[in-house]
Symmetry: C2
Subunit: 286 residues, 2 copies
């Protein structure tokens, strides 16, 4: 397929699913979508929703050339089990969750591995739901693609074209490797932001009292609790490692402060600063 897909079914019209739908409608692609809040969405009367055929069951949205499941990761497993027997037409089935091992392995065991490509667009935000979705959300965004062992090369190429059509740049990666990596690059930072927000809350400090650094560090604490709880649970083993490392570094600082050795504290900070500086230098390379 070298042209746009003729029809796309989307299950879940949140930030990601909603933004994909808006981009596709703008490209004259037929979009059929299901959302568990379909009645609330209809009541919005949003003009952008009128380009989308809303269905009253996930199964009805699955009858398309391309099927995209765009609900939080644990729910995505349930949705995939429910719709799998009915996805006879789609040449490509994708999800958009921040963990990939569970869903890719489920697709295999459901016998739809050949047409399944796990996707993870790094386009999240602390705003979420349909109200936060927008055109061009994926322009310039990295998207990880994680095929199953049995995924057909055609389906992988199709998934790559799909995301590139929306402006994203894709990287293909093994699902297990993806989850291990993301436990550090994304899942840990979000947990740290939430823990910092809670700590400040416990001290009676409001976000308005923070400087620019503290405000930046607590921004993603405003993200979706449903989404993040499911991501961390699905990546539990790797999260145990990354949380352990973070606790260890904080404990080490506390110990060094307590021992009263300013040079040891300086050296503690220096380790992270060297890492920061290395990235800045790389970024500035011509």
């Amino acid at each position: 397929m070298t042209t746009d897909p003729e029809s796309v079914g989307i299950i879940g019209l949140g930030l990601i699913g909603g933004s994909v739908a808006r981009d596709l409608v703008a490209r004259q692609v037929t979009v059929t979508a299901y959302d568990r809040d379909v009645e609330r969405l209809r009541a919005l009367g949003d003009a952008d929703l009128r380009g989308i055929t809303l269905t009253s069951s996930p199964r009805d949205a699955a009858n398309a050339d391309v099927l995209m499941i765009a609900v939080p990761v644990t729910e995505a497993l349930d949705v995939l089990k429910t719709v799998a027997p009915h996805v006879t037409r789609a040449r490509l089935i994708m999800d958009v969750g921040s963990t990939k091992r569970s869903i890719v392995s489920l697709a295999e065991s459901l016998g739809i591995g050949a047409r399944f490509v796990g996707g993870h667009p790094m386009a999240g935000d602390h705003h979420f739901a349909w109200s936060a979705s927008r055109r061009d959300l994926f322009v310039g965004a990295p998207v990880y693609l994680c095929p199953a062992a049995t995924t057909a090369p055609d389906a992988i190429a199709h998934a790559r074209r799909f995301w590139e059509m929306l402006g994203a740049s894709t990287t293909t990666m093994d699902a297990a490797e993806h989850d291990e990596r993301l436990a550090w690059t994304s899942h840990l930072p979000h947990a740290v932001a939430a823990a910092l927000a809670q700590s400040l809350n416990s001290a009676g400090v409001s976000r308005a009292e923070l400087g620019p650094g503290g405000r930046d560090m607590t921004r993603v604490a405003g993200s979706s609790p449903d989404m993040w709880a499911q991501i961390w649970m699905d990546n539990a083993a790797h999260m145990a490692e990354s949380l352990d490392a973070m606790e260890g570094r904080l404990r080490e600082l506390r110990d060094r402060i307590q021992r009263g050795n300013v040079e040891a504290v300086r050296e503690w900070f220096e380790d992270g600063r060297r890492w920061f500086e290395r990235s800045e230098r790389l970024r500035e390379r011509p």
Copy 2:
């Protein structure tokens, strides 16, 4: 005094001292400054430095209407001890450190409490040193003013006018209260950013692999190790509390994930999100 000070002595031409100097020179105020890297600064040949009289000892910079000590907090204590016997002329003596209790109490014990007002401009950045200093750094910045018990009302009013002249908005606060508060609003977030940077470094992850959230959360890990080590040491007791709270929240998340209860994990995240939402609502109030 309702006009600009006639002469200001600055000890330490880093981000803060350098930016104050640039603003004062632009206002035709006579600026005399000492920096331990004075020879390296002279070698720069920076045009903005030519408006500043560089001295070869801290004591020589202290002979001015206003004296500002702008070096990291532990060093500021040493500098204040060294120059105190020679500060005969200044009607106002200030520092700019992120902790205030130690230096305000030292000023009292040195017998210069009546003329001393501790200052803490919240205008830091992950860039530092003279090369990062710039005009108008303090426009719109909050500055905490912490007088000693014996500070003369005139000196407090003078300090307020000084910072407002540079565009800052001042809040007067007890030094001990300041340090307790800042352990949460600033000192903890910086420690968390550094600990996150170190954790990612330990996993072989580069900053370029992070999403916008992770990049925001590690930005201040690029700050000055000297400065932060001295701040944390000077605020050791309160840092023990704030670091303990942060470790506790992370440990709690790890436990809830391990217990396999997604609802308990969701509730954990929700606590920080409610705090975030409260601040957003306040900010949006007319």
